[in-house]
Amino acid sequence: MSTLEIKNLQVSVDTEDGAKEILKGVTLTIKDGETHAIMGPNGSGKSTTAYSIAGHPKYQITGGEVLLDGENVLEMSVDERARAGLFLAMQYPVEVPGVSMSNFLRTAKTALDGEAPKLRTWVKDVNGALDRMKLDTAFSSRSVNEGFSGGEKKRAEIAQLDLLDPKFAILDEIDSGLDIDALKVVSDGINDYAAREGKGLLLITHYTRILRYVKPDVVHVFVDGRIAESGGPELADELEANGYEKYVGTQAAGV
């Protein structure tokens, strides 16, 4: 049994006008076997949640904790968090010129497992993961994300999810910029991963479209750095019909 617990997480970023509070106390728990979706308008703190959990240096944790099977990941370095079983698929995957995908993937797998993968099966595994994402195997000799189209970058993120096989995956707007065919390919990859034993998934999205292919168990609506409402998959349907107006409106009325 694995559990990812986010408890009263408070996060700020440095701006020219001083520290700005982005997350104002977020609490949620994901058990293995569960898929949670975080939805919300721009600037509500969805991506901040993802990057804070992964340990991006831009974000200052000002309160709360994030526990993976009882261990506080906020006290770990970025790579320790990954080795503890966390994975972040990024909205804008970073290009690393001159470093081939195959070198990168093998280095990552070696770091995660503590030993180099068996050469014979590894090449087959990499090619299989690329193939499932409808990426040509030639991608393994290309530089990490360099010159990839937006859709190819997203598919490469899911190929990594497949290969690196973390305990918990956080997918930050994996659906943005994907056409319907690519969205289906990516969704298939996510579902394959989620179907594995003991995996937890946190899916961050602005749109309900991907939730037709990846079925969440729980949907959280983020507004202004807090969870405004949590519910079952039906909450996504409601958002599809009515948008975020109700939440933003409530907030405006409250002010």
């Binding site: 790579d79 990954a82 990168f104």
Partner: protein
């Protein structure tokens, strides 16, 4: 087109980029360090080769390995000095040319396509006496060849390398300064590129105490192309300086210059000066120059100065870029978010930074050994636990 004809056809350009040249040593005053072309160079560490130190040293072993059809002749006179149009524009070049007792000429015969590279290796065996050397590489018409110049060991060397790429020839010269820590090398290279000829220069500088390369190119006819790729790594206390000048003296010519360097350690200093002159006659040319520096630790200095001087509006394209940066936090975060340790991530990024350039070398038999050389250099440094 001979040098005289070429010079006659060109207008005089009052270029601030380059002082006027002369074969006469006395026409070049002993530099003080305040001159534009010397202001970055630590003259005190040049063992007086910029002043009057004798240049008759013989503390080196030279070796030559080439396919049978390549000619190597030693000329014990001055007949080849300036054969590429080189007119020394500083005192060290003038002294090295005047005091070289002979010239080694490597000639790739017309229409020959070499199956393997020519290797010229200079291995220094002592720094006490400075040495002058003069090398001429000539790729005759429509030949195709790669020449590798390797510099190793301990030495104080002032040399001129003149390169003539005749019409339609394709020549690549790979120069590797893999010196011991106490070497001083001030090298001048001048390349004359013929009509529709292609020249590629790969300039790799790792070792040495002070290494300064002045590399200049011009064109004796239209359609010539020059590609210059550079890769350097400066450790603590090391000074590596590259001064480039591409003189677009003919129409429809191209130049593409990319130099990349990494610096690590207290007082590691690199200098890159990229000068391009597009003359009035040089219509329809394309030029691009780029310098990128990766600063790995505090206490390093990377100077980078691109200069573009344009005398005609009729050009296809002209651009330059220069950037000096520390590690990209986003790249490191991305790699580390996949479980890769900080140090390993840094090693990957530096490796990639150079590898990106090595891939452009395009000489298959060399890429592997270059990658291995980079790997060895990184192992000495980035992997050594200093980070």
């Amino acid at each position: 087109m001979t040098a005289e004809v070429l010079e006659g056809a060109l207008e005089q350009v009052e270029s601030h980029l380059h002082p006027e040249g002369s074969f006469d040593v006395d026409a070049h005053a002993v530099p003080t360090g305040r001159e534009e072309i010397w202001r970055f160079t630590p003259l005190k560490r040049l063992r007086d080769i910029h002043a009057n130190a004798p240049l008759a040293g013989t503390s080196f072993e030279a070796s030559f390995d080439a396919p049978d059809n390549v000619r190597a002749d030693r000329h014990e006179d001055d007949s080849l000095k300036g054969v590429s149009g080189l007119v020394p524009w500083d005192r060290i070049s003038a002294r090295a040319l005047a005091e070289a007792t002979s010239s080694l000429a490597v000639t790739i015969p017309a229409e020959a396509v070499l199956e393997r590279p020519v290797f010229v290796t200079i291995k220094g065996t002592g720094t006490d006496e400075a040495t002058a050397a003069h090398l001429v590489i000539r790729a005759e018409k429509f030949s195709k060849a790669t020449v590798v110049l390797r510099f190793e060991g301990s030495m104080t060397l002032a040399d001129n390398v003149e390169i003539v790429v005749e019409d339609g020839a394709q020549l690549a010269v790979v120069s590797i300064d893999d010196w011991a820590d106490d070497a001083v090398h001030v090298g001048h290279r001048h390349i004359r590129v013929g009509r529709d000829a292609q020249f590629k220069h790969v300039d790799i500088t790792f070792g040495g105490d002070v290494v300064r390369h002045d590399t200049t190119a011009d064109y004796s006819g239209p359609g010539g192309a020059v590609e210059m790729l550079g890769l350097y790594f400066a450790d603590a206390g090391q000074h590596i300086e590259h001064r480039l000048f591409v003189d677009h003296t003919a129409p429809k010519t191209k130049s593409h210059v990319v130099y990349k360097g990494a610096l690590q350690g207290e007082k590691a200093h690199t200098v890159w000066i990229g000068n391009v002159l597009i003359r009035k006659v040089a219509e329809g040319i394309e030029t691009y120059e780029e310098n990128r520096n990766l600063v790995l630790t505090d206490g390093c200095q990377a100077d980078s100065v691109p200069n573009l001087e344009i005398e005609t509006g009729e050009i296809e394209g002209a651009g330059h870029a220069s950037a000096t940066a520390r590690f990209d936090d986003e790249q490191l975060f991305y790699l580390r978010s996949r479980g890769i340790s900080e140090k390993e991530a840094q090693r990957l990024v530096v490796h990639g930074f150079f590898n990106d350039l090595i891939r452009q070398v395009g000489v298959a038999e060399l890429e592997e050994s270059l990658a291995a050389t980079v790997e060895a250099e990184l192992a000495k440094n980035v992997l050594a636990g200093a980070l």
